[in-house]
Symmetry: D2
Subunit: 333 residues, 4 copies
């Protein structure tokens, strides 16, 4: 019973079906109708004109987005525990040609206007210091917390005030929206986000994420840089097909709701053990080594996050029986 990572989940049937339906002679790269239709599909979803590119990983989405927002000699403010800072092998530094990531603090991997100011207000405006160019937030965060429209909006206001770009790493954007119940627009461009990495792979997709540009004028340069990074697949239609399938009938939202619900159920089984509130599809529990071993002995797979702390992730396809079993097992510890 895998609660190790939502990347372990299979691909949704509708996605596979869409890929099979795309399996015919067609135009190469991103010239096909499916790829060309992404701008419209996302513009509809976000209720404003956007541009969008597919890529095959969230790391590529994030790094290309940051490259568009930050010159090599500037910096990006993010949470100390941000995925871009810790888990992408330096991809942001690679794609930006050496920009710095500046670590801000905050509970549950959420940064705030105050914690961002703590970082950037220290930076004298001279040529010796690396000047900030952008802010990046993860929604839902690496600890499964969700920024609401007001929180994003406050950061967006600071970004505008200081002339900084605002990127949202939305590897679990669907889970965030599912939790919030707001529109995708409310928590992105209406709150000041310039570029969103919109994740699908953890949520039922196979190999397609989207970079959504709320400043569509950024998209042309990124199209070049996507190719330069080896991320322009020659049969891109199979990626576009995945995304269209995820957007159709709000599959992305349904899947995220399922994952969130599973997580909520597990979290509810042991509220006193929770390291963070359960808002999206991750549960961080205080577990000592003996307890962890006992759960593993019952067949549960999960991640040792830190000494005495374990991470469980639920997926869109997590079997109800597994969820029940885990909730029961945790309650029984």
């Amino acid at each position: 019973m895998r609660f190790f990572s939502d990347n372990a989940a299979p691909v949704a049937d509708a996605v596979l079906a869409a890929m099979a339906a795309a399996n015919k002679v067609d135009t190469a790269y991103a010239g096909d109708a499916l790829s060309q239709g992404l701008d419209k599909a996302f513009s509809d979803l976000f209720e404003t004109r956007v541009a969008a590119h597919w890529v095959s990983t969230g790391t590529a989405a994030n790094a290309l987005a940051l490259g568009a927002l930050c010159q090599p000699w500037r910096s990006v403010v993010c949470h100390r525990d941000a995925h871009i800072n810790n888990d992408e092998a330096g991809a942001p530094e690679f794609f930006t040609h050496g920009a710095k990531l500046l670590a801000a603090e905050g509970e549950g991997a959420k940064i705030t206007p105050a914690s961002i100011r703590d970082v950037i207000d220290q930076i004298a405006n001279d040529v010796h210091r690396v000047q900030p160019a952008a802010i990046s937030i993860t929604n839902a965060t690496e600890y499964g917390l969700v920024y609401g429209p007001d929180e994003v909006g406050a950061i967006g206001a600071l970004a505008r005030e200081r002339g900084l770009g605002l990127h949202m790493d939305g590897a679990r954007f669907a889970n965030a929206v599912a939790h919030l119940g707001c529109t995708p627009a409310d928590v992105t461009w209406r709150a000041g986000v310039d570029v969103l990495s919109f994740g699908f792979v953890k949520n039922g997709g196979m190999s397609a994420e989207a970079i959504v540009f709320f400043k569509p004028e950024l998209a042309a340069e990124v199209a070049i840089r996507r190719k330069r990074a080896g991320h322009l697949l020659s049969k891109g239609r199979y990626l576009a097909a995945q995304i269209h399938a995820m957007l159709a009938d709000d599959l992305w939202l349904h899947n995220a709701r399922a994952a969130n619900a599973a997580a909520a159920r597990i979290g509810a089984a042991a509220p006193a053990r929770l390291c963070h509130p359960v808002q999206a599809n991750e549960i961080f529990l205080r577990l000592d080594a003996a307890e962890a071993a006992r759960l593993r002995a019952q067949g549960f797979d999960f991640y040792d996050w830190a000494p005495g702390e374990a991470r469980f992730v639920t997926s869109w396809s997590q079997a109800a029986g597994e969820v029940d079993a885990l909730a029961t097992a945790i309650a029984a510890l």
Copy 2:
């Protein structure tokens, strides 16, 4: 009737089936059994111990391979018309952090020991000049010609003599081997190749190419750089599945033979028009504008390579009727 690019072809049924078979809960990234099995699968195919990584584009395969062979302050010798030099948006320069590509000459995009020496013998061995680190050849070449084992071996001998790495861009490696009738080993490591970009996407795959390291000690660094470049897919098993399906029962070779046979038939229809011998699956024809227009009016799609010259590419799935029709139409011009 598309003869524009083999990237336009669909995905082979066996590949789709393998992907569907992989569609279950499994380990993320490259930890699954399919990904872990690539080293053995390619070691068997190449009759020696190799290491192999999947990536989703040939550009990524080439650029990662060159990054492993060439430091930022050195250079790679390739043909002036090499794909890495002209059609990858500077990916080799990006992944190597600014190495130079040095253009060598040769008929049909084939370089030779002599033309390589013409380039590197000019380079004084001092700190002012960018020193060569590697040679890259494309097999089959950008003009559809094939280097045989002796030709590769002569370049390999020069590479060893000068302390240079040797990379083979095998976006159409299958077509080259199908033409030669030799073993994959004969035209790669036995001839001195250090790293091969082994292409599957043009030949029935969807989104999986392989970097094959005949010096397996290079693979660990590239695993890191693959992640850093955003090319470590979180559901990598679907890429590995594609490759296993292509290797099973020599599907890669059968498909390439089909594409080559189609090209041969078209080439035979107008031998006097051929710009290059037809050895793999590309046909370059002298066509004036009126002739090109006439073919297009009959429904044939192809690429205007240069004034008076057109490129036709056949795929593994090219319908026999289309091939016949094109051959007839060309002959009738």
Copy 3:
């Protein structure tokens, strides 16, 4: 008797005197009055408002200038034999983060609108090709030839037409202006040049070159990138002092005239041996190995450029006796 390189020449007394005069407690980096006075000094010289930065090498000047004109994913057109292409160890690639240099042809290392078009007109406007961003010309060229205002103007017109920046590598700009007898403005911004690397070190300076921005808005970013490249000296006043000394009373021009006159005299000694007209301070002669040996036996030091071809460079301080002796020796071969 050294005719190997004008870098072998000593530093002019006025320059040393200016450095000694600057030897007092003063503001660090580029905050001192001498450094701050460069914009005005060059604006006066060029009869228009410019911004200027000191750096300590021509390679740094060129690479920083190109970095300002060319993004990492674009390219710079230059002559195949350009110093930036061959003799700077890949500095342009380093400072641009991996842009390509595209080699154009032309007699005497001079490129022309036609030869530039030969290169850029081949580049399809799509994401697969590296698009051009700038043109770089060397004046005087690597073979001692000089572009006049009309020639630069024709290239400048092409640059504007195609939206490309225009850089001039003026390591021997003084020698070019001395030959032309025009104003510095005529052969730079009036002819379309955006950024000039203005060399002083070969012409009597010690360690100070200038980057002159005819688009002053480029200077602020380059000030940051100069620091980032380790080129912001903490005692910058000693560099600024050198440049002011070179500009005072047109020392730069007097020195260049002296070097040019010496070269002209040597060139006149053997007109039939000249590989290129002698316009600046370099003489390229056809010399067989025996002749070269004979000259060396008489104490002359020079550079074997290519088989059967030797390069002699005269400096601002070349002793008249040495020049006479060399002219006589060559005539006597």
Copy 4:
């Protein structure tokens, strides 16, 4: 009366004299006898075989050194307040092609084996995390503290244990050695340092720092990268001359002692105000705004380090009268 920066100091007479003595026709770049003599001069000083290159800034020295010790996809551990982290405009990131700097903690900008382990022990050994490659310490530190041989040795032992390189930023290495009274060897290679940036500019030089390689095999690559970074001056002899003058008769040590003594005197004037012990040539004092204004009104120039904290730096040439005056003025606050 400048206590703002030791970069404000003039150049020592012996250095100017050595530069004047070098002013003759000579070999270009680093081919002259002075440049070629650096390896021996530093080998003598350090009592072991070393290789050494001149560069014109400490930033270049540090960034080239780190480039030799850290691949683009790895990281360097340094103090949060290290000059390389805060005051070099991202030069380490530029020269390493995007490596990360990891901030460790410690009093007075000194890191310790424990604080280094706090950083690196968190880094799981997988491809998602940027792995450490090197440690960099500043001696004397950014707060004027000095690592002794034992402290460096403990860090050196950790570096060897973990396979990490060890770099010392010695912008004020002379001040550190002057304070310690040990040999230069004791606090560098004998304690495990691999590469030292040996500063001269703040200590009486004009524009020459040295990179000293205790692993001489690193020097050849850095010679190439120095050129590629535009740091190979064509008249390098004037830099080498500076360094030889600084090493002759231990001028570097005499000058540093003078600066340290001046700092000690100032520090002794107000021990209760000291933020850090005064060991080298920097004094950090608690001063409120009114007190700072009062000192400025008396003609003292210094740096507002942080609210309520001021930095004073003494130089090798600080006039005794100025030092007395400042000590008196501080005592009188």
